[in-house]
Amino acid sequence: MKKLYLILVLTSLVLVVSQSAFTDSEPKTAAELGRKLFFDPILSKTQKISCASCHKEEFAFADTSAVSLGVRNQKGVRNTPSAMNMKLQVAFFWDGRANTLEQQALMPIENPIEMDLPVKTAVWRLNNSKTYKKLFQAIYHEAPNQDNLAKALAEFERTLETNDSPLDDWLLNDNESAVSESAKRGYVLFNGTKANCVQCHFGADFNNTEFRSIGLYNGKTLRDSGRAAITKRPEDLGKFKIGALRNVAITPPYMHNGMFKTLREVIDYYNDPAQVVPHAIGRDTLLAKPLNLTEQEKTDLVNFMEALTDKRFAGKLQQLKNTQKNQLK
């Protein structure tokens, strides 16, 4: 009898604890709801793809392939950019076709080669989910709709800020040992007139609000017209949103088409763009001449960019570096 009583008490305890744990993990804010939605394949036609399928958290919410696979394994058109550090951005997607995070959040859901789900259908699904109906009511005091779906996703994305890289530690806390001497040299080069990266890559996320062509459009083998597809202006041919550089070291491959596998390849390209893409159309005049970087300078620049990796990804960075080293052997 005593044993049975003990079993009952223990069982009740387990049930109470597990219930409270479930309740505690329920989203209580718009951002938490947005996180739940971000990771939920309910927002794709086949219910097999979520935002997080391409924006992988362990890779700073970017992907690891040149282009990502959407529903039914359809290949995307452009490289998946990181969804981190969006709070200060003013344009979204490589071609800037969205002006707000709310606008941006819904487009991949509807895109036939990404999640392929009309937003109306997504909203219908959410309204037919007891869990989501309850959550939207609690947080937005209304049933799920297109607006609050977009807001929730956007609010979650706004939480994905990183400001604890070795570079930040060095400069804000005067911690000289936070970055290597090579990275410090790289920072000087980055800001100096020889490499001149800062002309485009400036700001809190090391990109500004402009669209520039670095010469990855030639109308033949490189045919993505970028910003011009949105503005219809010939002068925008081959222009793309300048990529933000925080956490860039863990988000290969690089550029709108993922054509560069490593940061070293990126630096080699900038060092002499005409050698890699000889007949580019509309390449920015900032890249008109080779930079003539030495091998050490290239290494310093790579080390500087690695120093922009938030400390939470330090392990992932080391893993990637080890993989790249092994591939070179």
Partner: protein, 122 residues
């Protein structure tokens, strides 16, 4: 008499009249609303004449500065070397200050700095 006055002046001018320690050295923070969100702007001014700027603790600019009495001369890589901003620095005791633009053609730097109250961080 005149000679002794002149001699006194020569002697006095041989002594360096120091400005004292640079009161700008340290980290100063302003908090404002930007794009509807609370945003922090920090300037870390070092004693070696270099400084760094931070938005929400993200490093975004590095440059050089000089203080001459209450006038700040500031250069950075984003605005470009040679585009020196000149500001009058108004201190409120030791723990807060305001920058007042005298001349700065760099719009971003001017808009982020002019007339904002910065508090010294511990």
């Amino acid at each position: 008499m005149i000679l002794s006055c002149l001699m006194s002046l020569v002697v006095l001018s041989a002594f360096k009249l120091t400005d004292g320690p640079n009161p700008l050295v340290g980290r100063w923070e302003n908090t404002r609303i930007f794009q509807g969100a609370k945003t922090s702007l920090i300037g870390n001014f070092k004693s070696d004449g270099t400084y760094s700027g931070f938005i929400n603790k993200k490093a975004f600019v590095t440059g050089k500065y000089q203080m001459k009495h209450d006038t700040l001369y500031i250069d950075d890589s984003t605005c470009g070397t040679g585009y020196t901003g000149i500001y009058q620095v108004q201190f409120f005791g030791q723990d807060s200050l305001k920058f007042h633009v005298i001349r700065d053609t760099c719009q971003g730097r001017r808009e982020g700095t002019d007339n904002f109250l910065f508090r010294k961080m511990k």
